[in-house]
Symmetry: C2
Subunit: 663 residues, 2 copies
């Protein structure tokens, strides 16, 4: 027991938000307000004062900025600070028994009861005199003058002079203040970490018939991508591809002479994780692509797949980073009885793991120095958690604008851990949530106060690995429905194209989720004619993404609410902007084969609508406008047209001249 | 980053139960099982093993005992250890990637798929050889033999020999095991901390008319108390009472010459907190009282009121323990504008707080050495939390059988903090919860998994300070109803007698909760004739307490469930024993003035009853038995008889000879 600690009477506990008791930072984007609450109380009946302390992590501890916290009742306090800069903030709490404020409160009661307060004034004078000794300059002089007045009893009892109260708030006795230790942290990312629209394509498919696409071809594809409104263009690995055990078409174990191999089988004699596949072009081409993308407000995202093909240079240069089998061969990837002999995983239990970690950091920094700021991380759940926490921490300490998307489709606690330890965004189970009940339950879970503080969902209706059964069987209406839901249930979403917008829906075999003739293993050039096919969803996608840019409600995930519909093939939900002025109501027909109708029930008050006033629902996809009355309204959706309404709710406003319109 | 830590791939998190992330111990009573759960997982697809470690706190860390934990699915693990001894246990978790178990699992799949496993056997042989090097003696020899068999490939592939699996469970590789730090704690109390029945009386009232009662008189009152079935006899402070500013009858500011003063105004020239009021007798009398009580299975509880009268010896001997006012006087207790000039609080912010703490510990140890093991602590919420945590910790480290009851009627978070930091039992708001909704909400809150781990309610329908309005207005039926609820809603409860059993219900003034002519300020001798009045509740109390002793369901608070009744003047709830064999259903008429009837609805399955079988409800108060069918049954309660049913539920059992009875 420290000689002071016994006199520190205040308890500070249960700060919120907090991830695992503060073990991990919460997440915000720049410009957000960080609103935090905490319990603070002491024994007895004295009044407390409570301050919220905050600083950038790189600043040293004495440089806390301090804002007063407000008592909410029931010993709960709230404070707010702005997430003004990228990077990490630390924040903490300071609370103390405020003897002076307690004295003021009690004095008012004594005066009201007509008691003799002469001794009480002397007690107050002592407090103020002590404060005068702690203060300097004008404050000290002013406090000393107040103390003298109190000591003479020459003051009119209450209210006390406002400047005395404010001087005492600054110079009051905080000897026994309790500092909440070790405090908490918040990571402040740029806006794209929260609100982003991804398009994935295989660069080698952009070359036209018979020609390996290049980064220059990708640059020429940018107007097509930009016209659909995407702001992140994600490329699968662009490194040299291994030859040893290369996979052939449709994942066959032997490759034909012209088969290009999977881009995820990284490394050959031509280079490894810092190499560029020669057929894709040069680093100059990459720089030009990044530049050209920027001109379309598109950012390039690269793949980070930490594994090697058998002919990756690391295998020769760093045999200690791989596990050796008793027969002298290197251990390939396995999921027994399946064998993936074209992939060597790193051995993160190697004694040389430190050098391995450093090398992988060097790889990430290499691409950052080439202008890449977004990484989609392949299978992060098969590498150790401490590695990711270290790597992401190291990178973001220097480059706080870097975004990492975790491609982990695995057990919930593993996915959550990756998000907690630093991944900016996460793939989700959305891909397999199809019924109203599944979708409602899953997105209600993701929106719980606990989850949303660290887990930023990025919704993908398809990926090169996953053509879900719903898309296989539902055709174009299914693609349209999944698009609308991905784009509205998630502030971030992405599609793998052009397979998605062209509604490619043929699996490698019945009951399988892999694509037939997947681009992962063979050339699948997409011609401009093909991209222009009338059944392409690209116009709907463009419309959808414009609506996202224009409606702040769709740029955050916090205020998602599901609403009852009388037909369980229809799902209805709304999102609201932080200020409540922008409310979007989405209704989707989940059945790709039949029209469905039903009654939607809205909580009008929660959505800022009056129960007795008509309101307008403005369909941002079709531009149709309907006048709705009351909580229950009828909807009907035909899958072959557009299987969704995307309503902006508009309140009726009456001007001074009695002109009505809907805002 | 420690050179090993990067290779520790396992995460251990979210242990339950845990109070504030493990900051405070959970509570159990001796003989309980401590069942704990935790998340443990790693990256990838390897199997983990997980152990629960536990030890008495006084044992040093290497002496952990270890029991294996069971995987529950979804990365959750469960383990159990017995709370075999009084005192504190620490417990923790150890989890590791179990390479050998993973190898076994994968081998079985490879064998099933008909693969060539020769290299896999060599990998297994390496694991077993390494284990042989870690083991000693017979284990080492046996492991080496197994390794050789595997290396020769001469083993029939699967299943592997059971003794190999069990040897590897002991000697497998735990180099990178993760130890959950700093672990958690559980306080193991004796049973009375969980299940206790309290009777409070003023010793000075036991003397008969015109005579100050003594501890010998209290001893003579024991058969009366024992006949009602109480097992704790709690006496308000028995120390010398101050003369300075002594309060008179009905809390008047001036005492008459014969007014005895409040026992809570502790200390005079005759002694302080280690003194005995001369009129009560001698320490020999006290020892004899404790002895006599034990013979009735009753334990004596004393009051711990850490405050002084102005003429307490401490005031002269330790002026530094009190706050001084500017006019040189000592600061008395206040709740402005109210003044309590007969009470001087200790100044826990004194620079000499260390000596004050030590002295107060000496006081508690003094009474412990005189045979007292239960303390009812007066107003603990007006003394600092760090003091209580230190004091209770220090005392229970040496005397783990000591029980502290916190008399704190204050804000919820303050009450909770006191319970967390060590108080064994706590007064509650039961005293003011009267309607069905109030009672249901309050006791549902107390029974949440979080609360029940640290907060043991002790329910008091009255105290010397509190005669609730419900008792004032409801007369004898109200007292009976509150008795039944206190005795069944709480595994611990108490009454202040004989005011309670005699149904004294006159307040000092209308709208006040204080008793008229309260024993706190004047002599109120209770004659044996008075105690024998026919309207006394003592027979009901005796019956009630016998039922509590005979029904394990009423001895714990965990399995409390409320049940719907069609009349909201009736409240119904049940409690079950841990094994589910003892189920008690309580139905109380909350209206002391009118008979009420209604339909009670029971969740038969949860209570172990079959929906299609009749069952017996046996009223343990009236001994009546009824045959009930199905979930809904009719009840009617007349307040002037007994305003409650206290049913034991009895299942129908059919013997081999087709004889039916109810168990």
């Amino acid at each position: 027991m420290n000689s002071e600690d016994g006199r520190r009477r205040v308890v500070i506990e249960d700060p919120t938000p907090a991830i695992d008791g503060g073990r991990f930072p919460i997440k915000r984007t720049i410009g957000d307000l960080v609103t935090v609450e905490v319990d603070a109380f002491s024994d007895g009946h004295d009044l407390l004062s409570c301050a919220l302390l905050f600083r950038k992590e790189e600043e040293t501890a004495p440089n806390w900025r301090s804002v007063p916290m407000t008592a909410l009742g029931n010993d709960r306090w709230r404070g707010v600070f702005p997430a003004a800069e990228l990077g990490r903030y630390r924040y903490s709490f300071l609370a103390w028994v405020d003897a002076f404020r307690t004295w003021v409160r009690d004095l008012e009661k004594r005066v009201a009861a007509g008691q003799d307060c002469r001794v009480d004034f002397l007690i107050g004078a002592d407090f103020v005199e002590e404060a005068a000794r702690r203060a300097t300059g004008d404050d000290s002089t002013a406090l000393a003058r107040h103390a003298a007045v109190l000591r003479e009893g020459a003051v009119s009892p209450t209210p006390l002079p406002p400047d005395l109260l404010s001087l005492m708030a600054t110079h009051g006795d905080r000897r026994f203040a309790v500092h909440h230790d070790p405090g908490l942290a918040v990571v402040v990312d740029r806006e794209r970490a929260r609100f982003s629209t991804w398009y994935e394509l295989f660069p080698r498919s952009t070359g036209g018939p018979g020609r390996h696409g290049t980064l220059r071809d990708v640059a020429e594809r940018l107007p097509y991508v930009a016209a659909m409104g995407f702001d992140v263009l994600y490329l699968p690995p662009i490194h040299p591809i291994g030859h040893d055990h290369r996979k052939g078409r449709n994942n066959s174990v032997t490759a034909g002479p012209n088969d290009p191999g999977s881009p995820w089988a990284i490394g050959s004699s031509e280079g490894g994780h810092t190499g560029l596949h020669p057929a894709l072009g040069t680093f100059d081409d990459l720089h030009r692509l990044i530049q050209a993308a920027q001109e379309h407000s598109i950012e390039l995202a690269l793949d980070l797949a930490l594994q090697c093909s058998p002919d990756h240079p690391y295998v020769q240069q760093h045999p200690e980073w791989f596990r050796r089998r008793p027969d002298g061969t290197v251990q390939y990837a396995e999921n027994p009885p399946k064998k993936y002999e074209d992939i060597y995983p790193f051995d993160f239990e190697s004694e040389s793991f430190g050098e391995l970690w450093e090398e992988l950091r060097r790889v990430v920094l290499f691409w950052i120095e080439h202008g890449v700021r977004i990484f989609r991380v392949d299978n992060p759940h098969t590498k150790p958690f401490p590695f990711w926490e270290w790597l992401i921490g190291e990178i973001k300490r220097v480059y706080p604008d870097v975004i990492f998307l975790a491609e982990a489709f695995t057990r919930p606690k593993v996915m959550n851990r990756l998000a907690k330890l630093g991944f900016s965004q996460s793939y989700t189970y959305f891909t397999w949530r199809n019924t109203r009940e599944e979708l409602t339950r899953y997105f209600t879970d993701l929106a719980t106060p606990q989850m949303r503080e660290f887990f930023r969902p990025n919704l993908w209706p398809n990926t090169p690995d996953i053509l879900p059964e719903y898309l296989q069987l539902g055709g174009r209406p299914a693609f349209a429905a999944r698009l609308v839901m991905a784009a509205t249930l998630g502030a971030s979403y992405g599609i793998y194209g052009p397979a998605f917008e062209l509604c490619e829906n043929t699996p490698v075999a019945s009951g399988k989720e892999e694509y037939l003739d997947s681009e992962k293993y063979q050339h699948r050039p997409h011609t401009l004619d093909e991209l222009d096919r009338p059944e392409s969803l690209r116009r709907l996608i463009a419309r959808m993404n414009r609506v996202r840019r224009e409606n702040p409600a769709l740029q955050r995930d916090e205020a998602l609410r599901f609403h009852p519909v009388s037909n369980d093939q229809l799902i209805a939900y709304s999102k609201s902007s932080l200020d409540g002025n922008n409310v979007v109501l989405v209704i989707v027909n989940l059945d790709p084969h039949h029209a469905h109708s039903g009654w939607v029930e809205l909580p009008l008050g929660e959505l800022g609508l009056a129960a007795d006033q008509p309101y307008q629902v403005h369909d941002l996809l079709s531009d149709a406008r309907y006048l709705w009355h009351g909580a229950r309204n009828f909807v009907e959706l035909h899958p072959e047209v557009v299987p969704a309404h995307l309503f902006r709710l508009r309140r009726r406003v009456r001007t001074e001249r009695d002109f009505e319109y809907f805002l």
